[in-house]
Symmetry: C4
């Protein structure tokens, strides 16, 4: 009995190693296959939305979709049986994403009609979040994420300030253009302000009156100065992250810090680090 | 008599504490309620400008507008009677903003007609400035404001330089396109230059002649280099703010701050830190 | 004879002080008046190009133009007679700019016709360069100019690299869209590449074929990374300019550098700087 | 026999010096002539694609094209006979580029028809890569290239992150606008997301529904914060490149470089600098 349990545990542990970890050759191969499967399944959904392709290769795409759905279903079941606490996994963020990756296709059997199809297709694309699981492959991603996270509050405050500004600017513009020339109402004018301040500039709405153009030019020059702020924030965080990274070591002899990451000897006193 | 005056002072002081300060629980609650009231009242004005919504929910929006106006009127009166120098408050920037937040709705009783309505609506949106009162909630905002303030002169000089450049570029473009293809006059051409140099690029006016396109490409590549300048200015200010901020120690002798992180002696009076 | 010459010299020197220098009250007043005259004369030229204004206020603008032309002529003559080497001034850059500021209006007496008018108007705008004379008012301008000047070579090399890239990108796009959809020839396609890479994006020409859009998206993402380069160059120059500015002083006691601009005592050893 | 071989070697070595090296006056003159020839030949191809020019000066452009092709053919042959290992050169990147610079024109003798002409013309433009050979003229280019190369991995990770984001954003937008208003399918919506996030903003596709505009504004404000990331990465690399560059000293013991400006001991081997 105990031996059987142990045996069960052994293949479970083996499966767990392959599916959840990247230390073994098989685990690494599993992860890489999974990334390809995710990317290909996303490609299927994306090109399925192109009418001309869907008309010609609809059958193949339908089969490919079911192939990936069954593959991800098998993976989901294997994940459930190889983990010690299946419920905790099921209700974790990644567990829910994994479930969302397979449910829509099964739903599509019951829900028919073009409008439902659109939603189902979009839901399938949530699979893309599964790529985030592979993030641990990439060390560089952590540095960027940290720098962004640390500048998170400053950028939020900045965005709040931008929101106040675009509300005021949009309202003034609504007043100047007199509710015409595309500036039909204040929300639309605010939308235009954001399009202008972020230098996107679609041109679907653009000022026509001389005063409107003058004020628009003013907004653009403001945006010129303002676009510098988030850049300044993030750059500062990056640089202090790099400087912090350099000085994590202190010399055992003279105790001074600030050594490069590849330093083997203290640059101040010459003793081995 | 004196006791009564003291009693009066007590509720006045209590009211002052709630309205003007954030130290007490009630004061904090008051501030947060106020922010919500301001945001909701702005939302009412903004969506009231959308015709389709105004037609259906016009009555409700009208009532909501009056609700907020009366609320802000009560707040304004309370502010007046709870402060020691009401006149100074009335003519302060924030006092005028507070007054502007309630006046337009009362004006709308006397002024009728679509064109007046537009102005009244825009004036109501000045309430958004009242959110600036809440700025003290946000410590991060101060750092951004300081960095922008310190780079204020440099950015102004830079904008002056940009203004000279766009005048010249606009005039050349007016000459090249020969007053046609949307480049009808020099102000319009200057407007186009600003749209191009700031990389907004609406496309409402765009060069058509080969020479015009060549010159436009030249302007864009200039803008590429020039857009770097405000970013460079602001980033530099941010970084020196952070480096200064690292050494928040103040001198034990003269009490001044702003020493570098590696400073051992006060740079102002020379005493040991 | 000598006394007379001396007397002549005295009023000449006095005039020279007023016109060329800013140390005296009169010199400063002269400079400020001149800036206003230049700005107003530019304004006259700019608004004269707007047809609707020219039709109504044409006479006034014509008189204003002649007023400023005569004013600048007097100034030019005064500059000539108050300087010791008039010829050197005449053929200096500023002397030529000053001459260009008055000549076009006199030319307009002989040259008639709409096309000449356009050129004359544009030439008049060269007056704007005279504002550069006032640059010495602004200390901050020098820092920006220096940072830009020092990054001049790097940005030139970068622009050369961009020019090679846009030629290749434009040619590929010309090939993909098959000389249609606005991509009529290679120069136009290169123009489109520049519009896209600099994130201006007019939309007068935009890809229509799927492959064209795919490649355009690729160019945009490249531009995303590439726009960072001039910013990085200029920011680095700004920061080293600031750091240089800080460390211009070395301590007379310990000889170490890196003191702030406002430091009175060495931050390392505490001795007076 | 041996003398003859030596003589052959002598003119070969001389030719090698001129063609492959820049130490001699002739070598430098050869390189500069070559740059001009490349630039002019590119100009010929570029303006040949403009129909109005091709109609008038077609003959001259045809002759110029053959002149440059024969010139580059001679250069290619000289390169082959003056180098010791001709095969290695032939199959090197630069050798293949050199071959690509002459082949298309010869191909054009056999391939006729407008569609082939387009391809041949584009292939001829590959000559532009030959300018990269001249890169050694420019020292500044190396610094930029190094900074870009070092931030290569970080920017790649960042672009991967952007690709995931635009896929999600494009899909949501496709869902919101319901496959209409230009958002016909998911690839097109992803294209629109990239156009928006990179702040290019053609305006060929732009949201029309209120919810679509709201979400588009959200994407733009995200892009505002996100555009800061590559700038932050590159600027940080530039600055550490400059700081490293300041201390260009190499260790007298192990000869390695890259020490900080304040280093007194080699960080690799610990010997005194």
């Amino acid at each position: 009995m105990e031996a059987e349990q142990k045996g069960e545990r052994r293949w479970q542990r083996r499966l767990h190693e392959i599916i959840y970890e990247v230390d073994t050759v098989e685990g690494r191969a599993f992860d890489i296959s999974l990334i390809w499967a995710i990317l290909l399944s996303i490609l299927v959904v994306v090109i399925d939305s192109v009418e001309s392709i869907a008309q010609h290769y609809g059958d193949w795409l339908y089969r490919a979709e079911w192939f990936f759905t069954i593959l991800f279903t098998i993976e989901y079941v294997l994940r459930l049986i190889s983990i010690r606490k299946p419920l905790r996994y099921m209700f974790s963020f990644m567990g829910l994403v994994d479930l969302m990756a397979i449910l829509p296709t099964y739903f599509s059997l019951f829900l028919t009609g073009a409008s439902y199809l659109l939603v189902v297709r979009a839901l399938r694309l949530l699979r893309i979040f599964r790529i985030l699981k592979m993030w641990h492959f990439i060390a560089e991603g952590r540095i960027i994420a940290q720098a962004l996270y640390r500048s998170y509050i400053k950028i939020s405050v900045f965005l709040l300030f931008i929101l106040i500004m675009v509300t005021i600017m949009g309202s003034i513009m609504y007043l100047i253009e007199g509710g015409e020339n595309g500036f039909d109402n204040i929300p639309t004018s605010i939308y235009w302000s954001i399009v202008t301040l972020t230098t996107v500039g679609y041109g679907d709405i653009s000022p026509v009156t001389p005063l409107g153009r003058f004020f628009a030019a003013f907004i653009m020059l403001c945006g010129y100065g303002i676009i510098a702020v988030p850049t300044g924030i993030v750059t500062t965080e990056f640089m202090s992250a790099v400087q912090k990274g350099n000085s994590s070591q202190s010399c055992p002899n003279c105790g001074r810090e600030g050594h490069d990451a590849d330093a083997a000897y203290c640059k101040y006193c010459g003793s081995h680090l």
